[in-house]
Protein backbone atom coordinates (compact mmCIF):
# COMPACT_ATOMS: atom_id res chain seq x y z
CA UNK A 1 0.00 0.00 0.00
CA UNK A 2 1.03 3.57 -0.63
CA UNK A 3 -0.01 6.63 1.35
CA UNK A 4 -0.63 10.06 -0.12
CA UNK A 5 1.69 12.39 1.75
CA UNK A 6 1.13 15.60 -0.19
CA UNK A 7 -0.97 16.98 -3.03
CA UNK A 8 0.23 19.79 -5.30
CA UNK A 9 -1.96 21.69 -7.73
CA UNK A 10 -0.33 21.88 -11.18
CA UNK A 11 -3.14 23.39 -13.27
CA UNK A 12 -6.86 23.99 -12.86
CA UNK A 13 -7.38 20.26 -13.46
CA UNK A 14 -4.09 18.42 -12.92
CA UNK A 15 -2.60 17.55 -9.55
CA UNK A 16 0.59 15.90 -8.42
CA UNK A 17 0.28 13.29 -5.69
CA UNK A 18 3.34 12.56 -3.57
CA UNK A 19 3.14 8.94 -2.47
CA UNK A 20 5.02 7.17 0.28
CA UNK A 21 5.60 3.61 -0.87
CA UNK A 22 7.48 1.62 1.78
CA UNK A 23 10.08 -0.65 0.21
CA UNK A 24 10.00 1.12 -3.17
CA UNK A 25 12.81 -0.51 -5.18
CA UNK A 26 13.63 2.54 -7.33
CA UNK A 27 12.73 3.11 -10.96
CA UNK A 28 13.88 4.41 -14.33
CA UNK A 29 12.55 7.65 -15.80
CA UNK A 30 9.56 6.87 -18.00
CA UNK A 31 8.30 3.92 -15.99
CA UNK A 32 4.81 3.91 -14.54
CA UNK A 33 2.80 2.49 -11.69
CA UNK A 34 -0.56 0.78 -11.70
CA UNK A 35 -2.96 2.29 -9.17
CA UNK A 36 -5.83 0.09 -8.04
CA UNK A 37 -8.91 1.49 -6.34
CA UNK A 38 -11.38 -0.82 -4.63
CA UNK A 39 -14.94 0.22 -3.87
CA UNK A 40 -16.73 -0.93 -0.69
CA UNK A 41 -18.64 -3.51 -2.78
CA UNK A 42 -15.39 -5.02 -4.02
CA UNK A 43 -15.43 -3.47 -7.50
CA UNK A 44 -11.91 -2.59 -8.53
CA UNK A 45 -10.43 -0.41 -11.23
CA UNK A 46 -6.76 -0.25 -12.22
CA UNK A 47 -5.08 2.48 -14.25
CA UNK A 48 -1.49 3.25 -15.14
CA UNK A 49 0.20 6.53 -14.26
CA UNK A 50 3.66 7.68 -15.23
CA UNK A 51 6.05 8.44 -12.42
CA UNK A 52 7.06 12.10 -12.52
CA UNK A 53 9.78 12.05 -9.90
CA UNK A 54 13.29 10.69 -9.84
CA UNK A 55 14.71 8.68 -7.00
CA UNK A 56 18.01 10.10 -5.83
CA UNK A 57 21.02 8.03 -6.74
CA UNK A 58 23.57 7.79 -4.00
CA UNK A 59 25.51 11.02 -4.13
CA UNK A 60 23.07 12.73 -6.49
CA UNK A 61 22.61 16.45 -6.07
CA UNK A 62 19.92 17.34 -3.58
CA UNK A 63 20.12 21.04 -4.26
CA UNK A 64 19.74 23.00 -7.46
CA UNK A 65 17.11 23.04 -10.19
CA UNK A 66 14.61 20.29 -9.79
CA UNK A 67 16.00 19.11 -6.48
CA UNK A 68 12.55 19.23 -4.95
CA UNK A 69 11.50 16.50 -7.37
CA UNK A 70 14.42 14.22 -6.59
CA UNK A 71 12.72 12.16 -3.94
CA UNK A 72 14.16 9.92 -1.30
CA UNK A 73 14.00 6.17 -1.56
CA UNK A 74 10.41 5.41 -0.57
CA UNK A 75 8.68 8.36 -2.16
CA UNK A 76 7.36 8.82 -5.70
CA UNK A 77 5.24 11.42 -7.44
CA UNK A 78 2.53 10.97 -10.04
CA UNK A 79 0.80 13.80 -11.89
CA UNK A 80 -2.80 13.08 -12.84
CA UNK A 81 -5.02 14.90 -15.31
CA UNK A 82 -8.65 13.78 -15.05
CA UNK A 83 -10.19 12.24 -18.16
CA UNK A 84 -13.89 12.50 -18.92
CA UNK A 85 -15.83 9.98 -16.82
CA UNK A 86 -12.53 8.65 -15.49
CA UNK A 87 -13.22 6.37 -12.56
CA UNK A 88 -9.71 6.52 -11.20
CA UNK A 89 -8.31 9.78 -12.56
CA UNK A 90 -11.24 11.83 -11.28
CA UNK A 91 -10.61 10.50 -7.79
CA UNK A 92 -6.85 10.99 -7.90
CA UNK A 93 -7.01 14.42 -9.52
CA UNK A 94 -9.97 15.70 -7.56
CA UNK A 95 -10.59 13.89 -4.29
CA UNK A 96 -7.52 12.09 -2.95
CA UNK A 97 -5.93 13.90 0.00
CA UNK A 98 -2.95 13.54 2.27
CA UNK A 99 -3.34 10.47 4.43
CA UNK A 100 -5.36 8.45 1.91
CA UNK A 101 -4.08 4.98 1.10
CA UNK A 102 -3.78 3.62 -2.44
CA UNK A 103 -2.83 0.24 -3.81
CA UNK A 104 0.19 0.80 -6.04
CA UNK A 105 2.11 -1.72 -8.13
CA UNK A 106 5.38 -0.93 -9.84
CA UNK A 107 7.64 0.20 -11.22
CA UNK A 108 6.31 -1.13 -14.51
CA UNK A 109 7.54 -1.03 -18.08
CA UNK A 110 11.14 -1.03 -19.20
CA UNK A 111 10.70 -0.03 -22.83
CA UNK A 112 9.48 3.55 -22.62
CA UNK A 113 12.30 4.48 -20.29
CA UNK A 114 15.45 6.58 -20.35
CA UNK A 115 18.55 5.51 -18.46
CA UNK A 116 21.61 7.62 -17.69
CA UNK A 117 23.82 5.14 -19.56
CA UNK A 118 22.26 6.43 -22.79
CA UNK A 119 24.48 9.08 -24.36
CA UNK A 120 22.71 9.69 -27.69
CA UNK A 121 20.52 12.77 -28.31
CA UNK A 122 17.04 12.50 -26.87
CA UNK A 123 13.99 14.10 -28.45
CA UNK A 124 11.00 14.33 -26.13
CA UNK A 125 7.59 15.07 -27.63
CA UNK A 126 4.59 15.24 -25.31
CA UNK A 127 0.91 16.00 -25.75
CA UNK A 128 -1.13 17.14 -22.75
CA UNK A 129 -0.35 15.09 -19.66
CA UNK A 130 1.97 13.02 -21.87
CA UNK A 131 4.60 15.45 -20.66
CA UNK A 132 4.74 13.63 -17.29
CA UNK A 133 7.15 10.76 -18.12
CA UNK A 134 9.17 13.17 -20.27
CA UNK A 135 9.53 15.49 -17.29
CA UNK A 136 10.84 12.52 -15.34
CA UNK A 137 13.46 11.98 -18.05
CA UNK A 138 14.53 15.63 -17.95
CA UNK A 139 14.79 15.43 -14.17
CA UNK A 140 16.72 12.17 -14.38
CA UNK A 141 19.18 13.73 -16.80
CA UNK A 142 19.86 16.48 -14.26
CA UNK A 143 20.01 14.07 -11.34
CA UNK A 144 22.55 11.90 -13.15
CA UNK A 145 24.55 14.91 -14.39
CA UNK A 146 24.21 13.42 -17.87
CA UNK A 147 25.47 15.39 -20.83
CA UNK A 148 23.18 13.67 -23.35
CA UNK A 149 21.60 16.40 -25.51
CA UNK A 150 17.87 16.70 -24.74
CA UNK A 151 15.14 18.64 -26.51
CA UNK A 152 11.52 18.91 -25.44
CA UNK A 153 8.52 19.71 -27.62
CA UNK A 154 5.34 20.02 -25.58
CA UNK A 155 1.91 20.42 -27.16
CA UNK A 156 -1.02 21.46 -25.01
CA UNK A 157 -4.40 23.07 -25.54
CA UNK A 158 -4.05 26.49 -23.97
CA UNK A 159 -1.82 28.51 -21.65
CA UNK A 160 -3.74 27.46 -18.52
CA UNK A 161 -3.17 23.77 -19.25
CA UNK A 162 0.64 23.80 -19.14
CA UNK A 163 1.79 21.32 -16.49
CA UNK A 164 5.11 22.08 -14.72
CA UNK A 165 5.20 25.54 -16.31
CA UNK A 166 7.50 27.24 -13.84
CA UNK A 167 9.97 24.36 -13.76
CA UNK A 168 10.00 24.10 -17.56
CA UNK A 169 10.59 27.83 -17.95
CA UNK A 170 13.42 27.66 -15.44
CA UNK A 171 14.99 24.71 -17.22
CA UNK A 172 14.61 26.49 -20.55
CA UNK A 173 16.44 29.47 -19.06
CA UNK A 174 19.11 27.03 -17.87
CA UNK A 175 19.60 25.75 -21.41
CA UNK A 176 17.03 23.04 -22.10
CA UNK A 177 15.80 23.56 -25.67
CA UNK A 178 12.08 23.69 -25.01
CA UNK A 179 9.28 24.46 -27.46
CA UNK A 180 5.71 24.96 -26.36
CA UNK A 181 2.87 24.48 -28.85
CA UNK A 182 -0.71 25.53 -28.24
CA UNK A 183 -3.43 23.72 -30.15
CA UNK A 184 -6.57 25.66 -29.16
CA UNK A 185 -5.60 29.10 -27.92
CA UNK A 186 -2.28 30.90 -27.52
CA UNK A 187 -1.32 33.92 -25.46
CA UNK A 188 -1.45 37.31 -27.22
CA UNK A 189 1.60 37.79 -29.39
CA UNK A 190 2.57 34.11 -29.42
CA UNK A 191 4.68 33.49 -32.50
CA UNK A 192 2.85 30.42 -33.81
CA UNK A 193 -0.92 30.42 -34.25
CA UNK A 194 -2.74 27.66 -32.40
CA UNK A 195 -2.43 24.37 -34.22
CA UNK A 196 -1.17 20.84 -34.05
CA UNK A 197 2.43 19.75 -34.46
CA UNK A 198 3.31 19.53 -38.14
CA UNK A 199 6.29 18.58 -40.26
CA UNK A 200 7.57 22.14 -40.49
CA UNK A 201 7.56 22.55 -36.73
CA UNK A 202 9.30 19.21 -36.23
CA UNK A 203 11.96 20.20 -38.75
CA UNK A 204 12.49 23.54 -37.05
CA UNK A 205 12.57 22.47 -33.41
CA UNK A 206 13.60 18.82 -33.09
CA UNK A 207 16.73 16.76 -33.69
CA UNK A 208 17.13 15.79 -37.34
CA UNK A 209 17.08 12.11 -38.30
CA UNK A 210 20.80 12.19 -39.16
CA UNK A 211 21.56 13.17 -35.56
CA UNK A 212 20.13 9.74 -34.66
CA UNK A 213 18.13 10.77 -31.59
CA UNK A 214 16.03 8.41 -29.58
CA UNK A 215 12.53 9.90 -29.72
CA UNK A 216 10.06 9.47 -26.87
CA UNK A 217 6.50 10.37 -27.82
CA UNK A 218 3.77 10.34 -25.19
CA UNK A 219 0.19 11.56 -25.21
CA UNK A 220 -3.31 10.65 -26.31
CA UNK A 221 -3.44 7.94 -28.97
CA UNK A 222 -4.28 10.22 -31.94
CA UNK A 223 -1.48 12.61 -30.94
CA UNK A 224 1.07 9.83 -30.64
CA UNK A 225 0.08 8.26 -33.95
CA UNK A 226 0.20 11.58 -35.80
CA UNK A 227 3.59 12.55 -34.37
CA UNK A 228 5.12 9.10 -34.81
CA UNK A 229 3.94 9.00 -38.44
CA UNK A 230 5.53 12.41 -39.06
CA UNK A 231 8.80 11.34 -37.45
CA UNK A 232 8.95 8.24 -39.63
CA UNK A 233 8.04 10.26 -42.73
CA UNK A 234 10.88 12.65 -41.89
CA UNK A 235 13.27 9.71 -41.94
CA UNK A 236 13.70 8.75 -38.30
CA UNK A 237 14.65 5.14 -37.61
CA UNK A 238 11.50 3.28 -36.46
CA UNK A 239 13.63 1.47 -33.91
CA UNK A 240 14.43 4.79 -32.27
CA UNK A 241 10.88 6.08 -31.94
CA UNK A 242 9.36 4.94 -28.68
CA UNK A 243 5.74 5.68 -27.96
CA UNK A 244 3.39 5.61 -25.02
CA UNK A 245 -0.28 6.21 -25.65
CA UNK A 246 -3.03 7.24 -23.29
CA UNK A 247 -6.13 5.53 -24.50
CA UNK A 248 -9.82 6.10 -24.51
CA UNK A 249 -9.83 3.97 -21.40
CA UNK A 250 -11.10 6.11 -18.58
Amino acid sequence: MAAVSEVRVETATARTLVLDVPGWPGHDAGQHVDVRLTAPDGYTAVRSYSIASVVAEHGAPTVGPGASTITDGDRIEITVEPVVDGEVSSYLAGVAAAGDELEVRGPIGGWFAWRPAQTEPVQLIGGGSGVVPLMAMVRARTAAASSAPFRLLYSTRRPQSVIYRSELERRAADGLPFTLVYTRSAPPGWARPPGRIDAALLAATTFAPDEAPTCYVCGPTPFVEAVADQLLAAGHDPGRVRTERFGGQS
Binding site: S48, I108, G110, W111, G247, G248
Partner: protein
Protein backbone atom coordinates in the same frame (compact mmCIF):
# COMPACT_ATOMS: atom_id res chain seq x y z
CA UNK B 1 -11.32 1.51 -31.02
CA UNK B 2 -7.86 2.95 -30.50
CA UNK B 3 -5.14 0.65 -29.22
CA UNK B 4 -2.57 1.49 -26.56
CA UNK B 5 1.05 0.35 -26.53
CA UNK B 6 2.30 -2.87 -25.08
CA UNK B 7 3.53 -0.74 -22.17
CA UNK B 8 -0.04 -0.51 -20.98
CA UNK B 9 -0.14 -4.28 -20.55
CA UNK B 10 3.06 -4.32 -18.54
CA UNK B 11 1.38 -4.40 -15.15
CA UNK B 12 -0.71 -7.45 -15.99
CA UNK B 13 2.22 -9.22 -17.64
CA UNK B 14 4.41 -8.51 -14.64
CA UNK B 15 2.10 -10.67 -12.55
CA UNK B 16 2.87 -13.62 -14.87
CA UNK B 17 6.45 -13.23 -16.01
CA UNK B 18 9.45 -12.93 -13.72
CA UNK B 19 10.95 -10.25 -15.96
CA UNK B 20 9.63 -7.16 -17.70
CA UNK B 21 8.49 -8.47 -21.08
CA UNK B 22 7.66 -5.07 -22.55
CA UNK B 23 11.40 -4.67 -23.06
CA UNK B 24 11.65 -8.21 -24.49
CA UNK B 25 11.84 -8.74 -28.23
CA UNK B 26 9.07 -10.80 -29.75
CA UNK B 27 8.89 -12.31 -33.22
CA UNK B 28 5.48 -12.32 -34.86
CA UNK B 29 4.52 -15.81 -35.98
CA UNK B 30 2.46 -14.24 -38.75
CA UNK B 31 4.78 -11.84 -40.55
CA UNK B 32 8.12 -12.49 -38.88
CA UNK B 33 8.60 -8.92 -37.67
CA UNK B 34 10.63 -8.56 -34.50
CA UNK B 35 9.95 -5.72 -32.06
CA UNK B 36 9.83 -5.04 -28.34
CA UNK B 37 6.48 -6.06 -26.88
CA UNK B 38 6.27 -2.48 -25.64
CA UNK B 39 5.86 -1.48 -29.28
CA UNK B 40 2.97 -3.89 -29.86
CA UNK B 41 -0.57 -2.59 -30.02
CA UNK B 42 -2.49 -3.34 -26.89
CA UNK B 43 -6.28 -3.68 -26.76
CA UNK B 44 -7.61 -3.66 -23.22
CA UNK B 45 -11.31 -3.03 -23.66
CA UNK B 46 -12.04 -6.74 -23.91
CA UNK B 47 -12.35 -8.99 -20.84
CA UNK B 48 -8.63 -9.57 -21.21
CA UNK B 49 -5.63 -7.99 -22.87
CA UNK B 50 -4.76 -8.55 -26.53
CA UNK B 51 -1.37 -7.61 -27.95
CA UNK B 52 -1.20 -7.29 -31.72
CA UNK B 53 1.76 -7.04 -34.08
CA UNK B 54 2.46 -3.43 -35.10
CA UNK B 55 3.33 -4.72 -38.58
CA UNK B 56 0.52 -7.06 -39.58
CA UNK B 57 -2.08 -6.74 -36.79
CA UNK B 58 -1.94 -10.46 -36.01
CA UNK B 59 -2.60 -11.41 -32.39
CA UNK B 60 0.68 -11.97 -30.55
CA UNK B 61 -0.50 -12.58 -27.02
CA UNK B 62 -3.75 -12.83 -25.14
CA UNK B 63 -4.13 -12.69 -21.37
CA UNK B 64 -7.41 -13.21 -19.58
CA UNK B 65 -7.49 -13.05 -15.81
CA UNK B 66 -10.46 -14.45 -13.93
CA UNK B 67 -11.03 -14.31 -10.21
CA UNK B 68 -8.98 -17.41 -9.50
CA UNK B 69 -7.14 -18.31 -12.70
CA UNK B 70 -5.40 -16.73 -15.66
CA UNK B 71 -5.19 -17.81 -19.28
CA UNK B 72 -2.14 -16.96 -21.38
CA UNK B 73 -2.28 -17.58 -25.13
CA UNK B 74 1.00 -16.88 -26.87
CA UNK B 75 0.59 -18.79 -30.10
CA UNK B 76 1.09 -15.65 -32.17
CA UNK B 77 4.65 -15.30 -30.93
CA UNK B 78 7.32 -17.35 -32.65
CA UNK B 79 9.64 -16.48 -29.80
CA UNK B 80 10.33 -14.05 -26.98
CA UNK B 81 13.88 -12.96 -26.32
CA UNK B 82 14.81 -11.22 -23.12
CA UNK B 83 17.92 -10.06 -21.39
CA UNK B 84 19.13 -12.28 -18.60
CA UNK B 85 21.85 -10.27 -16.88
CA UNK B 86 24.42 -12.30 -15.01
CA UNK B 87 23.39 -12.18 -11.38
Amino acid sequence: MKPLDGNAAAGQLRTIFAVDVTAATGRCAGCGRTAPLGAAQSYQQAPGIVLRCPGCDAVLLRVVAGPDRTWLDGRGLAYLQFDTPAS
